[in-house]
Amino acid sequence: MAAKSGNSKVGSVMVVGAGIAGIQASLDLAESGFYVHLVDASPSIGGLMPQLDKTFPTNDCSMCIVSPKLVDAGRHLNINIISNTEVDFVEGEVGNFTAHLVNHPRFIDPVKCTGCGVCKQHCPVTAVNEFNEGLDRRAATYIKYPQAVPLAYAIDRETCIGCGLCEKLCLAKAVVYAEEERRSTLEVGAIILAPGNEVFDPTAFDTYSYAHHPNVVTSLEFERILSASGPYQGHLMRPYDREEPKSVAWLQCVGSRDINHCDNGYCSAVCCMYAIKEAVIAKEHSHEPLDTAIFFMDMRTYGKDFEKYYERAREEHGVRFIRSRVHTVDPVEEGRLKIIYTDEEGKSLEEEFDMVVLSSGFQPSKRTVELAERLGIELNEHNFAETSSFEPVKTSREGIFVCGAFRDPKDIPISVMEASAAAAAAAAPLVESRFTLTKTKELPAERLVAGEEPRVGVFVCNCGINIGGYADVPAVRDYARNLPNVVHVEDNLFTCSQDTQEKIREVIKEKDINRVVVASCSPRTHEPMFQETIREAGLNKYLFEMANIRDQDTWVHQNDPQGATQKAKDLVRSAVAKAALLDPLEQTVLGLNKVALVVGGGVAGMVAALSLADQGFPVHLVEKTGELGGNALKLRKTWKGEDIGSYVKDLVARVQSHEHITLHTNTQVVANTGFVGNFDTILEKVDDPEQKTTVQHGVSIVATGGKESRPTEYLYGEDDRVLTALELDSRLKEDGNGFKNVNRAVFIQCVGSREPERPYCSKICCTHSIESALQLKELNPDMNVYILYRDIRTYGFREELYKKARAKGIIFIRYSLERKPQVSNGSGSLQVQVYDPILGRDLVIPADALVLASAVLPNEAKEVVRALKVNQNAEGFFLEAHMKLRPVDFGSDGLFLCGLAHYPKSIDEAIAQAQAAAARAATVLAKDVITLGAVKAVVEPDKCAVCLTCVRTCPFGVPYIGEDGYAVIDPAGCHGCGACVAECPGKAISLQHFTDKQLIAKTEALLLKEIGEAAAGK
């Protein structure tokens, strides 16, 4: 790496914590020109996500969606994963930090370790398996889970007896017993903290029997029980007797919203949803009908599609929801547990269950708190990183940023979003040093092989004893020698080892090999590496084919060596058959326009535009109205009390004066063509459609915003005393004194939200109403303020506000959808009638002011939807590429979204999301070219019957019938799935690298067994 020169800033970033947030921040930074050191105390990256079974609200398998990210990070040339390491302290300042690290020994060299697992198999010691939350045991020599990155074992010296067996057995010579703790330093320009949280340990709740009853488990333990890779292989069993439970109860708010047993007064924000998910999935896993009951205080399903998930759980899956507070869980006979609880009316009730899950909350670990102290960053009263709503990912120390659950408890998508935001924030001060420390591969020119006869080299790997111990590798090697087109064969102890790689490169040159087959572990982990090797030897990387003789052969046929050997031969024969037909493929390289288009001039749009402009990228900011600021112009302050007015004023001024921002007010987007990197968009003046401009840009960010709905009930529009939340804000902004004479104010929540016609929670209204109610109380402390609600959803630290409101005497009355409040103004005064479930009777509240928490709607943005071809959900919010892990990307490359157009959200979240969209956009704009993968559908014009089949079957709408009279598939848009290829009736389309010829040759070769054997003289 280049040495630091003079005062210039260091072009690298240290990311501390390699959970999903740390990984996302690292990927975004590495993709936009910064070298990343990703530091984690654990032997492998991934954090909490690999431990989860499914994720809400899509029920995606957690491991499936996270493992590609693990692999991306593990393989990235510009991400240096530093495992088993903690940060001691940091000196210096933004641009030039020196981080002092403590590298704990792993006792196995991750560079030498091939992940073969022989050490684990022979390790005589067993230890508690933390990955499975202690529900089973593992060896002292271990890897957390099979997909772990780096794929290298570690020795747990706490339990290791030092027998030396693994060292003797390790053919890669990777075991280093003598390894000691080391200290090292890193020079970095910025630091991102993403240490995550720990799950609250409910041992202290002795009334819940957790510590002494096996059938009382934490939610994370239950995730492992449900997981196919967990201790029970995904069979729903209770730990006590490994019987399938017939009933399971979830107790919410364990270690959250609780200042009696612990100091965690906040809401952990995710437990309601994960409990519902666990209940639904448990029902799916169960063979017999399973009774599930969730004991809760407020059901907080406030995120995108959460409310629908809750509804479905209740209506379709029959999950029971019991509004209550549980005081005791008592063991009864046969491992069963009795729950004693108080219902809403104050009655004490009890019910028995086979199993009880404690929905544990989250808190920063002691280690994280100590780290924060050593780094000198401020924490809030709950030991989370203190941040401002307007700079949500910035800590109190300049140059150190924060994202994920350490900022406040949150779910995966918001963590991912914040991670990208932190990447954008960390990049901003280092812009001048972009690409100063990143590495690129220097490669020799590619050898032309077109027209040459195929000359195939076959390398058969023993993988230590992983393959060689079961299949007869020399026999496979000798068999390969006689296959057509094969000019070289050899077998290696580890084909992936550094020295073998070097040997392969030499042999390719020496024997003029032009196609390479490696028979070894799995393309999932090793294909890119071998492709790189042959590319270094001057061969196009697509001239490589792999035979999977470990994962798909010796590992799964250990009890049948003969069968395994025969299968290995078949797989090699098949790979050689395809190899002979492989073509070198060219990856299209396109130039790109390093300009962004941002649609929408509200806070989200402005923040996104500024974030990119501050990084030096020109931005076109398009706003439909004549004024910047959007909804924020109407807001007073954040729930923490920060003044929104002055923030927005400052933001607008910065946008207007920024040299890189071109502002287009009173303008809308009407048409868009092109693909990522090269878009043309036509803008049109709203009041003069004749006035059109075309802008060329490489990415688009959609931030078209939302609006407050107009209520259609509770006398809104008929009586002046009935206001919406924003109208109240405006009045308070103008002159709060008008409210000094108000004696009774009533707030009604969920007006137009969580209703059958609008089945989502507007997320911000509970906090907003409570904040407004407190403001009224401040103006007139004698005012009687009532909040009529369905569930109070003050997630995260907003719970403090709820607590404060109750302390100030604001009265909360719950109502249900079936018995909504009635409002009348018969006798001149407003009368609000509501049924109080605690008192069990109707109340009539006379009110001087009635505030309706009306729903947040997305702006229509019809032109944007049409022009950019982006999708919306049923409620009109934009649909991201992936609900969990691509929260600000659209399905089409180069398009991003943020703000209320995505879903209702608070201003801090909108700002973080806007920064995230900017970070994602920067991963495109920072590069000079766009390199497209070569596995694309290609049309043979001669054969095309212009039948439209491809146009109709492409899931991404890429093919079109071109002016020349045949189908055109733009490689920049093609995802390479091959759906059109399989359907084309004229066989005019082929998928590169997976052509019919290649696939059929592979099949034929596989099934030629008898002939093959006959040829070999058997």
Binding site: K943, A945, C947, C984, G986
Partner: protein, 224 residues
């Protein structure tokens, strides 16, 4: 386009049961577009027939070729080479029934078999669904019917309104089939032409259709 579909495998197997080597010909025209006889379907049928014959213990050799069109003699000429070089027992055509006839005409001594049933003149409603729209009557009058053809699309080819079997917009032959007269009525009412329906359409002169015997079109200006 001409819409066709593949004959049942069983029928085809029976046709070719005596043969050991055949040439299977596809067509890049209409039958490619309607997924009945393009290169892909040729490949599928060839493979299916080989499977069936392997199963019977009498393997069959099948060569595949897909012509630009089988309704032009020049393209049929392209079969000359494979047919003369191979001793095919028969030639199988996956074109509409024009194809096998052209092949038969061109190759006097070769047995030719149709692999498709030519179904109708029609179009695609959506991917994978085709419907009949024209009966080639030879004297188009659909402008009288709001642009919809009652000859092809009414089960009875009625010219003066629906029969008593029209119910809820559907034809009595099947609830899947629209009553075209219902559609005609709706469209003409949208066009403000309902009054035109009062005119009695006189019985049709069918001489331009099949009733006048096989038809031929001659363009003197083009004829060489």
């Amino acid at each position: 386009m001409v819409v066709a579909e593949r004959k049942p495998i069983e029928e085809i197997l029976d046709m070719i049961k005596e043969f050991d080597k055949v040439l299977l010909t596809g067509c890049k025209g209409c039958v490619t577009v309607c997924n009945a006889g393009g290169e892909k379907e040729v490949g599928i049928l060839a493979s299916a027939l080989k499977i069936a014959r392997k199963k019977e213990g009498r393997e069959i050799e099948i060569d595949e070729i897909t012509l630009e069109r089988q309704c032009d003699p020049e393209y049929i000429d392209q079969l000359e080479d494979p047919i003369s070089k191979n001793n095919y027992d028969a030639v199988l055509s996956m074109a509409c029934s024009v194809g096998p006839q052209y092949i038969a005409k061109r190759f006097d001594t070769v047995l030719v078999y149709p692999m498709l049933n030519t179904s109708f003149i029609g179009g695609s409603l959506e991917h994978g669904v085709w419907a009949e729209f024209c009966q080639a009557c030879g004297s188009c009058a659909i402008h009288n019917f709001g642009g919809l053809c009652p000859i092809a699309r009414c089960a009875k080819s009625l010219m003066n309104g629906p029969c008593g079997g029209s119910s809820g917009g559907k034809c009595e032959i099947s609830p899947e089939t629209d009553c075209v007269w219902h559609l005609i009525y709706e469209r003409m009412s949208r066009l403000g032409q309902l009054d035109k329906l009062g005119n009695v359409v006189m019985f049709k002169d069918w001489t331009t259709s099949r009733d006048g015997g096989p038809r031929k079109i001659v363009r003197e200006d083009l004829k060489q």
